[in-house]
Amino acid sequence: MIETIGLTKKYGSFYALQDLNLVVEDSTVFGFVGANGAGKSTTFSILATLLQPTAGDAFINGISVTKNPQEVRRQIGYMPDFFGVYDQLKTEEYLDFYGASYGIKPKERAVLIPKLLELVNLEHKRYDYVDLLSRGMKQRLCLARALIHDPNILILDEPASGLDPRARVEMRDILRELKAMGKTILISSHILPELAEMCDSIGVIDNGKLIAQGSVHDIQAQLQSEKVLRVKVAGDTQAIIPFFEMDPFVSQIEDQREKNVIQFFYRGTEEEQMRLLQRAIEQKIPILSFAEEETDLEDVFMAITKGVEIG
């Protein structure tokens, strides 16, 4: 389990991270969402014992990162957003070096390394120099490195950044496999829909503050005040727009005439929404469908970081 209590990092008068309270339960995947500079990497660096917090504390499996960083390092597998590799070191030697760095015996390493290379689909690159691998391969190799000591917690900072679509899909598949293995994963990404697919819960961070935390559906539900309704009619949409404009809870009507669809933001409750539909039918508006538009994580993120207060 990962837990942060009042975690704060301050540079002069600037708060890179402010009073972060976060809980990631065992064997779950937690997505950390935020714009560049929001505080994601700062949080990850503190959890990886690379950065000293100004206040508060973080716990990995109940072990404090400030009081016992050496033990924390044994518990986590960390993959930074930017990393380099050593020149003139082969893939197998790269993993062997880190295996030795975690005190794994040579015989165990010899068994472990082929398995890890198979997991990240790099078994064919075993004897290639790491600096000659593609970006996607280096990312996968770095993930294999983070797994070498079999940690039950993985801290992955933008593991899919800079990858082409194919490499991204491969990375996602590996992460799914790790999730199935029961690893606790804390992952950040700016590819939000990808997180929505694999995360059990997400946290949205903006300007160093955690502004939303919960399951993907919970957070979407909390956005009800900004839900989008989509109405498809038989006939011209122009004729029905005045009817919807009269409703006090409707705003920003978008006319998609070529599809016979109008789309608008609706702030009313479910009961008020039901009454709107009844009135429309009474007015003999030829409605073919009246539905709530699915809000994806991208929309949630944009709405939240625009300043919509959530729970």
Partner: protein, 280 residues
């Protein structure tokens, strides 16, 4: 000893260093330069006398010049090899990953430093056959050579410690290298200057030498001065008559540079990782 052999950083660093062609070409050019110097010196000495003989006192002179050249080499190469050990990892973005492994800071610093020292030792040892030519002509005892090599080892250790410490404290490799060269210039040049000033100051007034611990101190931490007393033991007595301090220079040199090395390594180990608990 087992920890030394199984230190992952040391093994990795040695592997990378000896896979690099630059390491071997460096040793090759060093040996070529030494050979040209030694054979050139012998050729000149024998052709100038016209007798074809190479006298033991000339052999000793050759040994002394070679010893100073090798000291110069140590002072010149060690900063370049050690001052980038940590900062270059930082620049290549490999340091953060290394710091999240369960290796201790001491293991990392020790591995980095030992690999640099090992390479320099290889360089010095590879020059031994050329060095040994002086034994053909006599004038130098094996024990003298042994002590000179111990002196090299200590000097290497001290400079490597300073280099690794500055590499840990300073983020940019180039700045760390410049700072380490600055420390070398202080060790070899500035201390010699201070030594001369101190002797002059101590002789002011009566003109006769008086006790000057400062002059003795500057001589003690100056590698060329200590080397001179090892090559020419009577120089020790002469210096003693100037400073009136009866402690051999090599004693002070050993104590000072061992302490300096320990202090530098300690600081490097302390500063390699952030102190996570500092704010409490």
């Amino acid at each position: 000893m087992k920890t030394l052999v199984t230190n992952p950083v040391l093994i990795k660093e040695l592997k990378l260093r000896f896979r690099n062609l630059k390491s071997f070409t460096g040793i090759l050019f060093y040996l070529i330069a030494m050979s040209i110097f030694v054979f050139g010196f012998i050729f000149l000495a024998t052709s100038l006398t016209g007798s074809g003989f190479f006298r033991p006192d000339e052999s000793f002179m050759l040994f002394s010049i070679m010893t100073y050249i090798q000291l110069g080499l140590i002072l010149f190469i060690t900063p370049a090899l050690t001052a980038g050990t940590v900062s270059s990892e930082r620049e290549k973005q490999t340091l953060n990953i290394l710091l999240t492994t369960s290796q201790t800071s001491f293991q990392i610093i020790f591995g980095k430093m030992t690999s640099s020292i090992a390479f320099l030792l290889l360089m010095i040892v590879s020059g031994l056959p050329i060095y040994s030519l002086v034994f053909l002509y006599g004038g130098v005892s094996p024990s003298q050579l042994f002590f000179i090599f111990l002196f090299y080892l200590l000097t290497l250790l001290a400079i490597a410690s300073i280099g690794v410490m500055l590499s840990t404290l300073i983020r940019k490799t180039i700045v760390a290298i410049i700072a380490t060269y600055g420390a070398m210039i202080f060790m070899a040049g500035v201390t010699a200057f201070f030594l001369l000033i101190s002797i002059q100051v101590s002789q002011m007034g009566s003109g006769a030498p008086s006790m000057s611990p400062m002059a003795h101190f500057w001589a003690t931490i100056n590698p060329p001065a200590v080397m001179l007393t090892l090559l020419q033991p009577p120089m020790q007595d002469q210096l003693q008559s100037l400073t009136m301090v009866p402690i051999p220079l090599w004693v002070g040199y050993t104590i000072f540079y061992l302490l300096l090395s320990v202090a530098c390594i300690f600081l490097a180990v302390k500063k390699l990782r952030v102190n996570m608990n500092k704010y409490k």
